[in-house]
Symmetry: C2
Subunit: 290 residues, 2 copies
Protein backbone atom coordinates (compact mmCIF):
# COMPACT_ATOMS: atom_id res chain seq x y z
CA UNK A 1 0.00 0.00 0.00
CA UNK A 2 1.57 3.25 -1.16
CA UNK A 3 1.92 5.95 1.52
CA UNK A 4 1.68 9.68 0.83
CA UNK A 5 3.64 11.73 3.35
CA UNK A 6 3.65 15.52 3.46
CA UNK A 7 5.58 16.11 6.67
CA UNK A 8 9.38 15.92 6.72
CA UNK A 9 9.68 14.74 10.33
CA UNK A 10 7.18 11.98 9.63
CA UNK A 11 9.03 10.67 6.58
CA UNK A 12 12.35 10.85 8.48
CA UNK A 13 10.82 8.71 11.22
CA UNK A 14 9.31 6.18 8.78
CA UNK A 15 12.53 5.82 6.78
CA UNK A 16 14.63 5.63 9.96
CA UNK A 17 12.54 2.66 11.06
CA UNK A 18 12.88 0.95 7.66
CA UNK A 19 16.66 1.44 7.72
CA UNK A 20 16.86 -0.14 11.18
CA UNK A 21 15.11 -3.15 9.68
CA UNK A 22 17.99 -3.32 7.19
CA UNK A 23 16.03 -2.07 4.17
CA UNK A 24 17.90 -0.43 1.31
CA UNK A 25 16.26 2.91 0.52
CA UNK A 26 16.05 4.43 -2.96
CA UNK A 27 14.91 7.99 -3.72
CA UNK A 28 13.68 9.37 -7.04
CA UNK A 29 13.41 13.16 -6.69
CA UNK A 30 10.89 14.64 -9.16
CA UNK A 31 8.87 17.78 -9.77
CA UNK A 32 5.85 15.65 -10.67
CA UNK A 33 4.23 15.70 -14.15
CA UNK A 34 5.52 12.14 -14.37
CA UNK A 35 6.28 10.58 -17.74
CA UNK A 36 7.99 7.43 -19.00
CA UNK A 37 11.37 8.98 -18.19
CA UNK A 38 10.46 9.16 -14.50
CA UNK A 39 8.97 5.67 -14.66
CA UNK A 40 12.29 4.32 -15.94
CA UNK A 41 14.00 5.83 -12.88
CA UNK A 42 11.38 4.27 -10.61
CA UNK A 43 11.82 0.86 -12.28
CA UNK A 44 15.59 1.04 -11.85
CA UNK A 45 15.17 2.08 -8.22
CA UNK A 46 12.80 -0.83 -7.56
CA UNK A 47 15.31 -3.25 -9.09
CA UNK A 48 18.14 -2.02 -6.86
CA UNK A 49 16.44 -1.09 -3.57
CA UNK A 50 13.99 -2.56 -1.06
CA UNK A 51 12.01 0.64 -0.63
CA UNK A 52 11.29 3.12 -3.43
CA UNK A 53 10.43 6.68 -2.44
CA UNK A 54 9.61 9.39 -4.93
CA UNK A 55 9.46 13.02 -3.96
CA UNK A 56 7.14 15.37 -5.82
CA UNK A 57 8.02 18.99 -5.20
CA UNK A 58 8.07 21.85 -7.68
CA UNK A 59 11.02 23.63 -6.10
CA UNK A 60 10.48 27.40 -6.32
CA UNK A 61 14.15 28.12 -5.59
CA UNK A 62 15.39 26.62 -8.86
CA UNK A 63 13.15 28.79 -11.06
CA UNK A 64 14.21 32.28 -12.10
CA UNK A 65 11.80 35.22 -11.68
CA UNK A 66 10.81 35.13 -15.37
CA UNK A 67 10.66 31.36 -15.70
CA UNK A 68 7.75 28.92 -15.78
CA UNK A 69 7.29 28.16 -12.05
CA UNK A 70 3.62 29.23 -12.04
CA UNK A 71 2.65 27.34 -15.20
CA UNK A 72 4.86 24.28 -14.63
CA UNK A 73 2.50 21.29 -15.13
CA UNK A 74 1.04 19.94 -11.86
CA UNK A 75 -1.39 17.02 -11.64
CA UNK A 76 -0.96 15.19 -8.37
CA UNK A 77 -3.85 12.75 -8.90
CA UNK A 78 -2.37 11.56 -12.19
CA UNK A 79 1.13 11.32 -10.65
CA UNK A 80 -0.26 9.39 -7.68
CA UNK A 81 -2.01 6.93 -9.99
CA UNK A 82 1.14 6.39 -12.08
CA UNK A 83 3.33 5.93 -9.00
CA UNK A 84 0.83 3.49 -7.54
CA UNK A 85 0.86 1.40 -10.72
CA UNK A 86 4.65 1.23 -10.50
CA UNK A 87 4.28 0.05 -6.90
CA UNK A 88 6.15 2.99 -5.41
CA UNK A 89 6.26 2.57 -1.61
CA UNK A 90 6.15 6.20 -0.48
CA UNK A 91 5.45 9.54 -2.15
CA UNK A 92 6.97 12.48 -0.27
CA UNK A 93 4.76 15.41 -1.27
CA UNK A 94 5.61 18.45 0.87
CA UNK A 95 4.12 21.93 0.64
CA UNK A 96 6.59 24.76 -0.14
CA UNK A 97 6.27 25.97 3.48
CA UNK A 98 7.34 22.53 4.71
CA UNK A 99 10.57 22.72 2.71
CA UNK A 100 11.48 26.40 3.14
CA UNK A 101 10.98 28.30 6.38
CA UNK A 102 10.21 32.01 6.57
CA UNK A 103 13.79 33.07 6.11
CA UNK A 104 15.78 30.41 4.32
CA UNK A 105 19.37 31.62 3.89
CA UNK A 106 21.49 28.51 3.27
CA UNK A 107 22.43 27.45 -0.26
CA UNK A 108 24.85 24.98 -1.80
CA UNK A 109 26.95 26.16 -4.72
CA UNK A 110 29.00 23.95 -7.01
CA UNK A 111 31.17 26.74 -8.30
CA UNK A 112 32.25 26.97 -11.95
CA UNK A 113 30.05 24.01 -13.02
CA UNK A 114 26.92 25.98 -12.03
CA UNK A 115 27.84 28.99 -14.18
CA UNK A 116 28.21 27.32 -17.59
CA UNK A 117 25.78 25.74 -20.07
CA UNK A 118 22.24 26.01 -18.62
CA UNK A 119 23.66 27.83 -15.59
CA UNK A 120 24.71 30.73 -17.80
CA UNK A 121 21.12 31.23 -18.94
CA UNK A 122 19.37 30.28 -15.71
CA UNK A 123 21.30 32.08 -12.96
CA UNK A 124 20.69 30.49 -9.56
CA UNK A 125 19.08 27.38 -11.07
CA UNK A 126 21.68 24.83 -9.97
CA UNK A 127 22.09 26.48 -6.59
CA UNK A 128 18.35 25.85 -6.14
CA UNK A 129 18.65 22.28 -7.38
CA UNK A 130 21.61 21.43 -5.14
CA UNK A 131 19.98 23.00 -2.09
CA UNK A 132 16.67 21.16 -2.44
CA UNK A 133 18.36 17.85 -3.29
CA UNK A 134 20.67 18.15 -0.26
CA UNK A 135 17.61 18.88 1.90
CA UNK A 136 15.81 15.83 0.50
CA UNK A 137 18.94 13.74 1.12
CA UNK A 138 19.14 14.95 4.73
CA UNK A 139 15.42 14.34 5.36
CA UNK A 140 15.24 10.89 3.76
CA UNK A 141 18.89 9.71 3.92
CA UNK A 142 18.51 7.23 1.04
CA UNK A 143 21.19 4.72 0.05
CA UNK A 144 20.72 5.47 -3.65
CA UNK A 145 19.23 8.41 -5.55
CA UNK A 146 18.15 8.28 -9.19
CA UNK A 147 18.39 11.08 -11.75
CA UNK A 148 17.88 11.15 -15.52
CA UNK A 149 20.72 11.80 -17.96
CA UNK A 150 18.39 14.13 -19.87
CA UNK A 151 19.37 16.76 -17.26
CA UNK A 152 23.02 15.87 -17.69
CA UNK A 153 24.49 19.02 -16.17
CA UNK A 154 22.29 18.56 -13.11
CA UNK A 155 23.50 14.97 -12.77
CA UNK A 156 27.18 15.96 -13.11
CA UNK A 157 26.78 18.78 -10.58
CA UNK A 158 24.98 16.56 -8.05
CA UNK A 159 27.69 13.89 -8.39
CA UNK A 160 30.29 16.58 -7.73
CA UNK A 161 28.34 17.89 -4.73
CA UNK A 162 28.06 14.42 -3.21
CA UNK A 163 31.76 13.77 -3.72
CA UNK A 164 32.94 17.18 -2.48
CA UNK A 165 30.72 17.14 0.62
CA UNK A 166 31.42 13.47 1.55
CA UNK A 167 27.75 12.54 1.30
CA UNK A 168 27.36 8.78 1.61
CA UNK A 169 24.69 8.38 -1.09
CA UNK A 170 25.10 6.67 -4.45
CA UNK A 171 23.96 8.90 -7.33
CA UNK A 172 22.63 6.74 -10.19
CA UNK A 173 22.30 8.32 -13.64
CA UNK A 174 19.71 6.70 -15.92
CA UNK A 175 19.50 6.76 -19.73
CA UNK A 176 17.24 9.34 -21.34
CA UNK A 177 13.93 7.94 -22.56
CA UNK A 178 12.93 9.16 -26.03
CA UNK A 179 9.85 9.32 -28.21
CA UNK A 180 10.04 7.14 -31.36
CA UNK A 181 11.23 10.17 -33.37
CA UNK A 182 14.07 10.84 -30.90
CA UNK A 183 12.63 13.71 -28.84
CA UNK A 184 13.78 13.33 -25.23
CA UNK A 185 10.85 12.98 -22.82
CA UNK A 186 10.33 16.06 -20.69
CA UNK A 187 7.46 17.47 -18.67
CA UNK A 188 7.95 20.67 -20.63
CA UNK A 189 7.10 18.90 -23.92
CA UNK A 190 3.50 19.49 -22.83
CA UNK A 191 4.04 23.16 -23.78
CA UNK A 192 4.58 22.26 -27.47
CA UNK A 193 1.71 22.66 -29.94
CA UNK A 194 1.09 19.98 -32.57
CA UNK A 195 3.17 21.62 -35.27
CA UNK A 196 6.06 22.30 -32.89
CA UNK A 197 5.94 18.76 -31.56
CA UNK A 198 6.32 17.35 -35.11
CA UNK A 199 9.55 19.28 -35.55
CA UNK A 200 10.98 19.20 -32.05
CA UNK A 201 13.27 16.24 -32.71
CA UNK A 202 15.55 18.61 -34.63
CA UNK A 203 17.50 19.08 -31.37
CA UNK A 204 18.37 15.39 -31.13
CA UNK A 205 19.13 15.30 -34.87
CA UNK A 206 21.58 18.16 -34.50
CA UNK A 207 23.29 16.38 -31.60
CA UNK A 208 23.51 13.22 -33.70
CA UNK A 209 25.01 15.23 -36.55
CA UNK A 210 27.70 16.61 -34.26
CA UNK A 211 28.38 13.10 -32.99
CA UNK A 212 28.76 11.79 -36.51
CA UNK A 213 31.21 14.57 -37.37
CA UNK A 214 33.46 14.05 -34.36
CA UNK A 215 33.36 10.30 -35.00
CA UNK A 216 34.62 11.07 -38.50
CA UNK A 217 37.53 12.93 -36.98
CA UNK A 218 36.31 16.48 -37.53
CA UNK A 219 37.17 19.09 -34.93
CA UNK A 220 34.82 20.14 -32.15
CA UNK A 221 34.54 23.52 -33.81
CA UNK A 222 33.50 22.05 -37.16
CA UNK A 223 31.01 19.65 -35.60
CA UNK A 224 29.49 22.48 -33.64
CA UNK A 225 29.16 24.71 -36.72
CA UNK A 226 27.34 21.94 -38.63
CA UNK A 227 24.92 21.30 -35.77
CA UNK A 228 24.18 24.98 -35.22
CA UNK A 229 23.58 25.41 -38.97
CA UNK A 230 21.02 22.57 -38.90
CA UNK A 231 19.25 24.12 -35.90
CA UNK A 232 19.17 27.58 -37.49
CA UNK A 233 17.54 26.21 -40.62
CA UNK A 234 14.52 25.16 -38.55
CA UNK A 235 12.04 28.04 -38.31
CA UNK A 236 10.78 26.94 -34.87
CA UNK A 237 14.23 27.40 -33.35
CA UNK A 238 14.08 30.94 -31.97
CA UNK A 239 17.36 30.95 -30.07
CA UNK A 240 20.23 28.60 -29.36
CA UNK A 241 21.29 29.12 -25.73
CA UNK A 242 24.32 26.87 -26.26
CA UNK A 243 25.59 23.92 -28.23
CA UNK A 244 28.62 22.63 -26.34
CA UNK A 245 31.05 19.73 -26.50
CA UNK A 246 32.58 19.06 -23.09
CA UNK A 247 34.08 16.44 -20.82
CA UNK A 248 31.22 14.61 -19.10
CA UNK A 249 32.65 14.70 -15.54
CA UNK A 250 33.64 18.28 -14.78
CA UNK A 251 32.03 19.76 -17.90
CA UNK A 252 35.23 21.44 -19.08
CA UNK A 253 35.14 22.64 -22.69
CA UNK A 254 36.96 20.31 -25.10
CA UNK A 255 38.95 21.39 -28.09
CA UNK A 256 40.02 18.03 -29.46
CA UNK A 257 37.84 15.03 -28.63
CA UNK A 258 39.82 12.69 -30.85
CA UNK A 259 41.50 10.52 -28.24
CA UNK A 260 40.49 6.88 -28.13
CA UNK A 261 38.25 5.67 -25.29
CA UNK A 262 37.58 9.23 -24.32
CA UNK A 263 34.01 10.09 -23.47
CA UNK A 264 32.60 13.36 -24.71
CA UNK A 265 29.39 15.14 -23.87
CA UNK A 266 27.45 16.87 -26.63
CA UNK A 267 24.79 19.06 -25.02
CA UNK A 268 22.48 21.81 -26.16
CA UNK A 269 19.61 24.04 -25.04
CA UNK A 270 17.36 25.85 -27.50
CA UNK A 271 14.21 27.91 -27.46
CA UNK A 272 11.73 26.06 -29.63
CA UNK A 273 8.83 28.43 -30.08
CA UNK A 274 8.18 29.55 -26.50
CA UNK A 275 9.50 26.32 -24.99
CA UNK A 276 13.02 25.76 -23.79
CA UNK A 277 14.26 22.31 -24.77
CA UNK A 278 17.48 20.64 -23.65
CA UNK A 279 19.10 17.42 -24.75
CA UNK A 280 22.50 15.73 -24.77
CA UNK A 281 24.40 12.59 -25.64
CA UNK A 282 27.53 11.07 -24.14
CA UNK A 283 29.68 9.54 -26.86
CA UNK A 284 32.58 7.19 -26.31
CA UNK A 285 35.24 7.72 -28.96
CA UNK A 286 36.45 4.31 -30.12
CA UNK A 287 39.93 3.30 -31.20
CA UNK A 288 39.19 3.36 -34.92
CA UNK A 289 38.13 6.95 -34.90
CA UNK A 290 40.93 9.38 -35.27
CA UNK B 1 42.42 3.72 24.61
CA UNK B 2 42.21 6.82 22.44
CA UNK B 3 42.33 6.18 18.68
CA UNK B 4 43.90 8.57 16.18
CA UNK B 5 42.30 8.26 12.73
CA UNK B 6 43.53 10.12 9.66
CA UNK B 7 41.37 8.51 6.98
CA UNK B 8 37.76 9.61 6.45
CA UNK B 9 36.49 6.24 5.24
CA UNK B 10 38.00 4.56 8.27
CA UNK B 11 36.38 6.92 10.76
CA UNK B 12 33.04 6.59 8.94
CA UNK B 13 33.29 2.82 9.31
CA UNK B 14 34.28 2.95 13.00
CA UNK B 15 31.52 5.42 13.89
CA UNK B 16 28.95 3.49 11.84
CA UNK B 17 29.73 0.40 13.91
CA UNK B 18 29.44 2.35 17.19
CA UNK B 19 26.08 3.79 16.11
CA UNK B 20 24.76 0.31 15.32
CA UNK B 21 25.68 -0.62 18.89
CA UNK B 22 23.38 2.21 19.99
CA UNK B 23 26.12 4.60 21.08
CA UNK B 24 25.42 8.33 21.12
CA UNK B 25 28.18 10.11 19.20
CA UNK B 26 29.46 13.60 20.05
CA UNK B 27 31.81 15.65 17.88
CA UNK B 28 33.99 18.59 18.93
CA UNK B 29 35.43 20.16 15.76
CA UNK B 30 38.68 22.05 16.46
CA UNK B 31 41.69 23.49 14.67
CA UNK B 32 43.97 22.12 17.42
CA UNK B 33 46.06 24.37 19.69
CA UNK B 34 43.74 23.15 22.40
CA UNK B 35 43.12 25.27 25.49
CA UNK B 36 40.70 25.22 28.43
CA UNK B 37 37.93 26.48 26.13
CA UNK B 38 38.20 23.34 24.00
CA UNK B 39 38.46 21.19 27.13
CA UNK B 40 35.16 22.61 28.37
CA UNK B 41 33.54 21.51 25.08
CA UNK B 42 35.07 18.05 25.45
CA UNK B 43 33.83 17.79 29.06
CA UNK B 44 30.30 18.78 28.01
CA UNK B 45 30.42 16.28 25.15
CA UNK B 46 31.55 13.49 27.47
CA UNK B 47 28.68 14.29 29.86
CA UNK B 48 26.08 14.08 27.10
CA UNK B 49 27.40 11.39 24.73
CA UNK B 50 28.75 7.83 24.87
CA UNK B 51 31.58 8.48 22.41
CA UNK B 52 33.53 11.73 22.21
CA UNK B 53 35.33 12.49 18.96
CA UNK B 54 37.42 15.59 18.39
CA UNK B 55 38.58 16.63 14.96
CA UNK B 56 41.83 18.54 14.59
CA UNK B 57 42.07 20.21 11.19
CA UNK B 58 43.40 23.66 10.36
CA UNK B 59 40.98 24.27 7.52
CA UNK B 60 42.74 26.21 4.74
CA UNK B 61 39.44 27.21 3.12
CA UNK B 62 38.37 29.43 6.01
CA UNK B 63 41.53 31.56 5.95
CA UNK B 64 41.88 34.52 3.62
CA UNK B 65 45.00 34.90 1.45
CA UNK B 66 46.54 37.47 3.83
CA UNK B 67 45.49 35.73 7.04
CA UNK B 68 47.42 33.61 9.53
CA UNK B 69 46.96 30.11 8.05
CA UNK B 70 50.71 29.44 7.84
CA UNK B 71 51.53 30.66 11.34
CA UNK B 72 48.38 29.35 13.05
CA UNK B 73 49.68 27.45 16.12
CA UNK B 74 50.05 23.69 15.54
CA UNK B 75 51.30 21.20 18.14
CA UNK B 76 49.73 17.81 17.61
CA UNK B 77 51.71 16.05 20.34
CA UNK B 78 50.51 18.53 22.95
CA UNK B 79 46.92 18.34 21.64
CA UNK B 80 47.06 14.54 21.69
CA UNK B 81 48.27 14.54 25.28
CA UNK B 82 45.53 16.95 26.41
CA UNK B 83 42.82 14.98 24.58
CA UNK B 84 44.09 11.76 26.11
CA UNK B 85 43.92 13.23 29.60
CA UNK B 86 40.31 14.21 28.96
CA UNK B 87 39.63 10.61 27.86
CA UNK B 88 38.61 11.56 24.33
CA UNK B 89 37.71 8.36 22.45
CA UNK B 90 38.81 9.29 18.92
CA UNK B 91 40.85 12.10 17.36
CA UNK B 92 40.08 12.61 13.67
CA UNK B 93 43.26 14.18 12.30
CA UNK B 94 43.09 14.32 8.49
CA UNK B 95 45.68 15.79 6.13
CA UNK B 96 44.43 18.67 3.92
CA UNK B 97 44.50 16.31 0.89
CA UNK B 98 42.17 13.93 2.72
CA UNK B 99 39.59 16.68 3.18
CA UNK B 100 39.88 18.51 -0.15
CA UNK B 101 40.40 16.78 -3.47
CA UNK B 102 42.30 18.28 -6.39
CA UNK B 103 39.40 20.34 -7.57
CA UNK B 104 36.97 21.05 -4.77
CA UNK B 105 34.10 23.18 -6.10
CA UNK B 106 31.23 22.78 -3.63
CA UNK B 107 30.62 25.35 -0.89
CA UNK B 108 27.83 26.10 1.55
CA UNK B 109 26.76 29.70 1.96
CA UNK B 110 24.53 31.06 4.70
CA UNK B 111 23.66 34.22 2.86
CA UNK B 112 23.36 37.60 4.61
CA UNK B 113 24.61 36.20 7.96
CA UNK B 114 28.00 35.40 6.37
CA UNK B 115 28.50 38.95 5.08
CA UNK B 116 28.18 40.92 8.32
CA UNK B 117 30.35 41.29 11.46
CA UNK B 118 33.48 39.11 11.00
CA UNK B 119 32.24 38.11 7.54
CA UNK B 120 32.59 41.69 6.34
CA UNK B 121 36.28 41.69 7.23
CA UNK B 122 37.03 38.05 6.40
CA UNK B 123 35.36 37.42 3.02
CA UNK B 124 34.83 33.70 2.43
CA UNK B 125 35.57 32.79 6.04
CA UNK B 126 32.13 31.46 6.98
CA UNK B 127 31.70 29.75 3.64
CA UNK B 128 34.90 27.85 4.50
CA UNK B 129 33.66 27.10 8.02
CA UNK B 130 30.24 25.86 6.87
CA UNK B 131 31.75 23.71 4.14
CA UNK B 132 34.27 21.96 6.37
CA UNK B 133 31.77 21.49 9.19
CA UNK B 134 29.21 20.00 6.80
CA UNK B 135 31.91 17.65 5.48
CA UNK B 136 32.83 16.61 9.03
CA UNK B 137 29.13 16.09 9.79
CA UNK B 138 28.73 13.89 6.69
CA UNK B 139 31.87 11.87 7.45
CA UNK B 140 31.17 11.31 11.15
CA UNK B 141 27.37 11.79 11.37
CA UNK B 142 27.41 12.66 15.08
CA UNK B 143 24.27 13.03 17.18
CA UNK B 144 25.59 16.21 18.84
CA UNK B 145 28.26 18.73 17.86
CA UNK B 146 29.85 21.20 20.27
CA UNK B 147 30.99 24.75 19.51
CA UNK B 148 32.13 27.60 21.75
CA UNK B 149 30.13 30.81 22.16
CA UNK B 150 33.38 32.75 21.84
CA UNK B 151 32.88 32.36 18.05
CA UNK B 152 29.27 33.44 18.37
CA UNK B 153 28.68 34.33 14.74
CA UNK B 154 30.05 30.93 13.68
CA UNK B 155 27.69 29.23 16.14
CA UNK B 156 24.65 31.21 14.91
CA UNK B 157 25.52 30.51 11.26
CA UNK B 158 26.03 26.78 11.86
CA UNK B 159 22.69 26.57 13.72
CA UNK B 160 21.03 28.28 10.75
CA UNK B 161 22.77 25.91 8.29
CA UNK B 162 21.62 22.84 10.20
CA UNK B 163 18.06 24.13 10.39
CA UNK B 164 17.87 25.28 6.74
CA UNK B 165 19.39 22.07 5.35
CA UNK B 166 17.38 19.69 7.60
CA UNK B 167 20.52 18.21 9.12
CA UNK B 168 19.60 15.91 11.99
CA UNK B 169 22.41 16.96 14.34
CA UNK B 170 22.05 18.89 17.59
CA UNK B 171 24.34 21.94 17.71
CA UNK B 172 25.35 22.66 21.31
CA UNK B 173 26.78 26.10 22.13
CA UNK B 174 29.03 26.24 25.19
CA UNK B 175 29.92 29.22 27.39
CA UNK B 176 33.13 31.10 26.68
CA UNK B 177 35.96 30.26 29.08
CA UNK B 178 37.88 33.31 30.30
CA UNK B 179 41.18 34.12 31.98
CA UNK B 180 40.84 35.56 35.51
CA UNK B 181 41.07 39.11 34.07
CA UNK B 182 38.21 38.43 31.61
CA UNK B 183 40.14 37.78 28.39
CA UNK B 184 38.34 35.09 26.39
CA UNK B 185 40.53 32.04 25.77
CA UNK B 186 41.66 31.74 22.16
CA UNK B 187 44.43 29.93 20.35
CA UNK B 188 45.37 33.31 18.87
CA UNK B 189 46.13 34.72 22.35
CA UNK B 190 49.50 32.98 21.85
CA UNK B 191 50.35 35.78 19.40
CA UNK B 192 50.19 38.43 22.18
CA UNK B 193 53.41 39.66 23.80
CA UNK B 194 53.54 40.17 27.56
CA UNK B 195 52.62 43.85 27.48
CA UNK B 196 49.75 43.25 25.04
CA UNK B 197 48.47 40.33 27.12
CA UNK B 198 48.26 42.56 30.23
CA UNK B 199 45.99 44.97 28.40
CA UNK B 200 44.00 42.60 26.15
CA UNK B 201 41.05 42.36 28.52
CA UNK B 202 40.03 45.84 27.35
CA UNK B 203 37.80 44.13 24.75
CA UNK B 204 35.74 42.34 27.39
CA UNK B 205 35.67 45.50 29.51
CA UNK B 206 34.25 47.47 26.58
CA UNK B 207 31.59 44.82 26.03
CA UNK B 208 30.71 44.96 29.73
CA UNK B 209 30.46 48.73 29.55
CA UNK B 210 28.01 48.50 26.63
CA UNK B 211 26.02 45.90 28.58
CA UNK B 212 25.84 48.16 31.60
CA UNK B 213 24.63 51.08 29.48
CA UNK B 214 21.85 49.16 27.75
CA UNK B 215 20.83 47.71 31.11
CA UNK B 216 20.51 51.29 32.33
CA UNK B 217 18.15 52.00 29.48
CA UNK B 218 20.54 53.84 27.17
CA UNK B 219 20.15 53.40 23.44
CA UNK B 220 22.20 50.95 21.39
CA UNK B 221 23.85 53.93 19.73
CA UNK B 222 24.90 55.49 23.03
CA UNK B 223 26.17 52.20 24.45
CA UNK B 224 28.18 51.61 21.31
CA UNK B 225 29.74 55.09 21.40
CA UNK B 226 30.85 54.58 25.02
CA UNK B 227 32.40 51.19 24.28
CA UNK B 228 34.19 52.40 21.16
CA UNK B 229 35.54 55.39 23.09
CA UNK B 230 36.96 53.05 25.76
CA UNK B 231 38.63 50.90 23.09
CA UNK B 232 40.09 53.88 21.25
CA UNK B 233 41.71 55.14 24.46
CA UNK B 234 43.81 51.98 24.63
CA UNK B 235 47.01 52.43 22.60
CA UNK B 236 47.24 48.74 21.68
CA UNK B 237 43.92 48.90 19.84
CA UNK B 238 44.98 49.56 16.25
CA UNK B 239 41.60 49.13 14.57
CA UNK B 240 38.03 48.31 15.54
CA UNK B 241 36.59 46.04 12.84
CA UNK B 242 33.13 46.30 14.41
CA UNK B 243 31.33 46.78 17.68
CA UNK B 244 27.78 45.60 17.10
CA UNK B 245 24.60 45.04 19.08
CA UNK B 246 22.37 42.47 17.35
CA UNK B 247 19.72 39.82 17.86
CA UNK B 248 21.50 36.59 18.79
CA UNK B 249 19.59 34.28 16.40
CA UNK B 250 19.70 35.83 12.94
CA UNK B 251 22.22 38.55 13.87
CA UNK B 252 19.99 41.39 12.68
CA UNK B 253 21.08 44.85 13.83
CA UNK B 254 19.05 46.15 16.78
CA UNK B 255 18.06 49.73 17.33
CA UNK B 256 16.22 49.44 20.62
CA UNK B 257 17.10 46.54 22.89
CA UNK B 258 14.92 47.78 25.72
CA UNK B 259 12.19 45.15 25.63
CA UNK B 260 11.92 42.86 28.64
CA UNK B 261 13.09 39.24 28.32
CA UNK B 262 14.72 40.06 25.03
CA UNK B 263 18.18 38.65 24.47
CA UNK B 264 20.75 40.85 22.82
CA UNK B 265 24.19 40.04 21.46
CA UNK B 266 27.03 42.49 22.03
CA UNK B 267 29.93 41.47 19.81
CA UNK B 268 33.18 43.02 18.68
CA UNK B 269 36.38 42.35 16.76
CA UNK B 270 39.48 44.49 17.15
CA UNK B 271 43.08 44.49 16.03
CA UNK B 272 45.16 44.43 19.19
CA UNK B 273 48.71 45.07 18.08
CA UNK B 274 49.06 42.59 15.21
CA UNK B 275 46.51 40.16 16.67
CA UNK B 276 42.84 40.08 15.80
CA UNK B 277 40.73 39.49 18.92
CA UNK B 278 37.00 38.79 19.02
CA UNK B 279 34.63 38.55 21.94
CA UNK B 280 30.93 38.82 22.70
CA UNK B 281 28.29 38.51 25.38
CA UNK B 282 24.63 37.57 25.18
CA UNK B 283 22.60 39.64 27.61
CA UNK B 284 19.03 38.96 28.67
CA UNK B 285 17.20 42.19 29.34
CA UNK B 286 15.16 41.78 32.51
CA UNK B 287 11.78 43.31 33.32
CA UNK B 288 13.14 46.03 35.58
CA UNK B 289 15.40 47.53 32.96
CA UNK B 290 14.24 50.33 30.76
Amino acid sequence: MMQIIKNKNEISRIVGKLKKEGKKIGLVPTMGALHEGHLSLIKRCKEECDITIISIFVNPVQFGPNEDFARYPRDFERDREMASQEEVDIIFYPEPGEMYGDRHLTYVNVEKMEKIMCGKFRPGHFKGVCTVVLKLFNIIIPDNAYFGMKDFQQLAILKKMVSDLDINIQIVGCETVREPDGLALSSRNAYLNQEERKNANILFQAINLAESEVRQGRSVKTARISAVKMLKECSFVKKIDYFDIRDPVELKALKNPGKQNMKILIASAIWFGKTRLIDNKVVEMSQNQS
